[in-house]
Homo-oligomer: 116 residues x 2
């Protein structure tokens, strides 16, 4: 198991200054959410020890759980091999999804088109 470390200056931000972040429950290993971070939200995530994202729809910082109380305590942050994706392992205080589901990935994809 590699223990190589990567400095924050090596992150490859996209053309909008963002990086995709996969949030995983450190205990159950369930994938909870895919969200985005800019440099400021990543710095806040690291200093607070809780996830802070950049909301692309609201174009604003989004401290997860700030209103719901369902914040996510950060256990570890990993960077992928080409430094353009983050894996954030967390201890969640409650559901990750705004629907109340534990994970945002609570729907199965089916091949045929929807009728509803």
């Amino acid at each position: 198991m590699s223990v190589e470390a990567v400095g924050i200056d090596q992150i490859k931000w996209d053309t909008n200054g963002l990086i995709v972040a996969v949030v995983q429950d450190a205990a159950t290993r369930q994938v909870l959410t895919v969200a985005y971070m800019n440099a400021q939200s990543l710095q806040m995530t690291l200093s607070l020890g809780e996830t802070v994202f950049w909301s692309r729809s609201r174009q604003a910082l989004w401290h997860k759980g700030e209103t719901s109380g369902n914040n996510q305590r950060v256990i570890q942050v990993s960077v992928d091999c080409d430094a353009d994706a983050l894996l954030i392992e967390v201890e969640p205080a409650g559901p990750a999804c705004h629907t109340g589901e534990t994970s945002c990935f609570h729907r199965i994809l089916r091949e045929e088109s929807s009728r509803d």
Copy 2:
């Protein structure tokens, strides 16, 4: 546990016609890779039962394991609550990362800048 299903026509492709896909080992629940799919690669993934991505760097279809043999058999595909991210649970035939590591997320982020 919800068993709601989502049709492929409900996917929200980004402005480049892509969707981000998180690949997770279905057995160990390790997050292996973050990659991207366009409509064609997603259709191929579903029909082949193996992951096929869209390589943004090469601007080409990328059937994972085609040259390395390390393909990923698809167990389940989930869609997130706003239909702009996929979670692909797989049974991998070998390492996901081109470095030979099991996962592309084999490096820890450290807050300070790198010296190397």
